[in-house]
Symmetry: C2
Subunit: 495 residues, 2 copies
């Protein structure tokens, strides 16, 4: 879920200085328009294990805005008035009224997350907490609250030492408790475990009306600008649609911001020689045959979803996979525009119908991610529909995984020049099946929209159950081998 953490998320001091006055002006304008409208309250939730950045960001937000109309809430130890009442009482008391903005440090997520990490509560209790939170946030959204939830996260290589150093360097704008230092140590020591816990909580509580926004928080400038922008756009979008019935208007403003892109991490020119390709193809296809014919596979199943730029070579990769499979066990399902029958059903229906039974394999040539790609970009889906797709798709895939189905997802990435080369080549060859359509050229015009949509998609739907694999596909040999190898590694790990 936090794929983009691996990238650098930095804004230089100069960029920040250039950007800040502008953003500040827009933010305070939005704040005052909101205040005058008295239309809805805004809650900014700064959450997550980065126990360093949150306080500073909250302070920055308070500085940027007119702090008389911002209600900060820092959940240090609850007082005895609070301990003597049900646990949500103190949050009810702290809710901002319509027209106001509440900045919450962690708030209702803090206690369950910490207690679970420190082994004070078990998974069942954690689930009871997240259920309660879900109901609470649903109520807030239906009452009109704009909820922006940021999950702060730092990359693995930020060591304990750095954490400690930062802790010393920071001015004590918000106190750092001993417990937080404990959590910090724990966090660095058991990073992967912590990330999986956070992923679980984020999955359980990310909804169309209150989606989590994963935030790489190591760099203060990047962090503060990102939140400041999202807050401004969120308020502005919601104000522009007064009285709207859909409670999540504005929430989508928090996605598609201008940070780095997961696709940046790829070296698209990774390549293989023809000889290396031939040797490895043979080897990997043999691995795949062996794994899928293994007795253990009879009780499992495999779903592979291929997405990618137009002309990225999905078809060729799929063929290399299919060659290694017993034809009776596998089906390839090409996904195009929905049929009439499919349109008359809920979106995921047409994918559910092709879910393989035990011991079988379904390969989707394009997939349920269409809603987050073409449908989002072309406006075929309403914002409300594609926003809830993040959550629905995660549930869908985890239902498959819970049943024992192995889910593998590929994005085949090529660059713009390579795509042009392939388009032109295909127009020359002119086989019908390869024909480049007007639609392909139109999609190409929206290259940057797709880049952003891919980033959001990978960022929010790559889970430990069903991770995305980004495939460098300028070189077809390299891409095909990476695809096969990824499937094989997953199969061997799971069986």
């Amino acid at each position: 879920m936090f794929e983009s953490l691996k990238l650098k998320h930095e804004v230089s001091k100069e960029e920040f200085k250039a950007e800040e006055p502008l953003l500040r002006g827009q933010l305070i304008d939005a704040q005052f328009d909101l205040l005058e409208s008295e239309e809805f309250p805004v809650i900014v939730l700064l959450s997550g294990m980065d126990f360093l950045g949150r306080g500073a960001t909250a302070k920055q937000l308070m500085n940027w805005m007119d702090s008389r109309h911002v209600r900060p809430y820092a959940s240090i130890q609850p007082g005895d008035q609070e301990l003597d009442r049900p646990r949500m009482w103190r949050f009810w008391r702290a809710l901002p009224r319509k027209g106001r903005i509440g900045v919450f440090l962690n708030a209702w997520y803090e206690t369950p997350t910490r207690d679970y990490l420190l082994g004070r509560i078990d998974r069942t209790q954690l689930r009871a907490h997240t259920d309660e939170i879900l109901r609470f946030e649903q109520m807030l959204a239906q009452e009109g609250t704009l909820l922006l939830k940021f999950m702060f996260m730092v990359p693995k290589d930020q060591s304990v030492k750095e954490v400690k150093k930062l802790a010393k360097r920071r001015t004590a704008a918000w106190k750092i408790s001993k417990e937080e230092i404990e959590i910090g140590k724990e966090f660095s020591k058991r990073y992967d475990h912590v990330v999986s816990v956070v992923e679980e909580i984020v999955s359980a509580t990310s909804t169309s009306y209150a989606p989590w926004i994963p935030l790489a928080s190591a760099d203060a400038h990047y962090r503060d600008l990102t939140i400041g922008r999202a807050l401004t756009v969120g308020i502005r979008n919601r104000l522009n649609q007064p009285g709207s019935q859909t409670p999540n208007i504005g929430a989508s403003a928090t996605i598609g911001s201008t940070g780095p892109n997961v696709l940046d991490s790829l070296d698209l020119d990774s390549s293989l020689t023809r000889e290396a390709y031939r040797a490895q193809l043979k080897k990997e296809q043999h691995r795949l045959t062996t794994a899928t014919l293994a007795r253990k596979f009879e009780d499992r199943a495999l779903v592979v979803a291929f997405e990618g730029n137009d002309a990225a070579g999905k078809g060729g990769s799929i063929r290399r996979v299919v060659q290694a499979l017993d034809p009776r066990m596998q089906r390839v399902i090409p996904i195009a525009a929905p049929s009439d029958e499919e349109k008359a059903q809920p979106y995921l229906w047409r994918f559910w119908r092709h879910i393989p039974r035990k011991g079988h394999i379904t390969i989707f040539d394009r997939s349920w991610y269409g809603r987050l790609l073409v449908e989002r970009i072309e406006g075929f889906s309403a914002e409300n529909d594609w926003m809830r797709a993040f959550e629905e798709i995660r549930s869908f895939e985890s239902e498959l995984a819970d049943y024992g189905i192995i889910v593998v997802k590929f994005w085949l990435a090529i660059d713009k020049d390579e795509q042009l080369r392939r388009f032109e080549q295909r127009e020359e060859v002119g086989y019908k099946r390869y024909k480049i359509t007007d639609e392909d050229w139109r999609n190409r015009d929206k290259w940057d929209d797709y880049r952003q949509a891919v980033h959001d998609m990978v960022d929010r739907t790559s889970t430990s159950n069903a991770p995305w694999t980004l495939v460098e596909a300028n070189d077809k040999y390299f891409a095909r081998i990476k695809v096969l190898k990824t499937i094989n590694d997953r199969l061997e790990a799971e069986l």
Copy 2:
């Protein structure tokens, strides 16, 4: 939650014969208008422990409608195609398309309910199931499906014998499996346990877009007419609002039907002599003082909500309670129209703020139920808002109960003549605090609307955690003693 089960729910053969042709005509008209519109699918879920009535009702619905466009789904044992796939797969396959109606016997609730009742899964696993169901139904609703869920239920005194007799008498329209007979026996033996399990499942899965409709199903005529009417009204209402964004339009059609009313069960003329009253008042007030001063109460708290007809004597009852309490421990909160500050917050905010701390008592003179009474009737709340209040209030009260707060709720009922007598008496006396306002007279004009609203409220928000007590209040003495006694019984049982 099934308060109204105690009442007789019967429709005579003659009434049924008179009603049926009319309903049938309306239903088939609605069905064909839906079919032509292709606007949305309808799912009718016939669920619950009454393993006798469901099949017959499904058959009746199929008879009434044009069965070519109705898709029945009877979840007998899943086939091997189904067992080989994730558990929701078969329901996805069975979904009706837009314009069609699907009649499901139990469907996705069946397995978890049975498995839990028979001890095959524990509470955590049950919760995982209901979470999955919640996500599934939310998706359906957001995709436009009209979901009508009926929970069949028979009263406790329907013995094993009757159950068996009915089973023999019925023609085998839908097969009754051995397991169902097992469940039936189990059901009769452990009625209270089963009801509490069903209550738990219903609470967890009743939402504003797919609320459960509790249905007394012992009488076939009553049952079939009720469902037929709800289905007709639901389709009709939704068709009248094409393209609406709120997915629960139509769902509310299922409440406020014309069955018996919980208030029917009351003998409003129950009374006490002055002497008996004096003696019992002294005794009950002493019990209350003792209970609330007990050491064990220091770790608990008490919330009492008073609702009732205008002039039913809430004030007098509250005074008799307060007299027995240490003034430092208690507060009485009169609930009137919300203040500006309260209006700028979510609905339940103004009640949360008065939740007592440990060892304390809050008495609400009118309460959060205003949304389901005056706000619903006067249209101060949108349908969408009061429909979700059923669920929100149940969560609210269970959060209180989970924390150890004892929740007691009273509806003080008088009849229309008694109210008139009291109104006239008060106008003669003319103390300002007793003054009868125009609003009181207006409310009186809506007597029948209130009766229906009270019925729905009690039916759907009376839980084992926070049960409603209906108080016969034509005689003030009787009412006051019943109030005190109910509080005392609860306190003594809880402490």
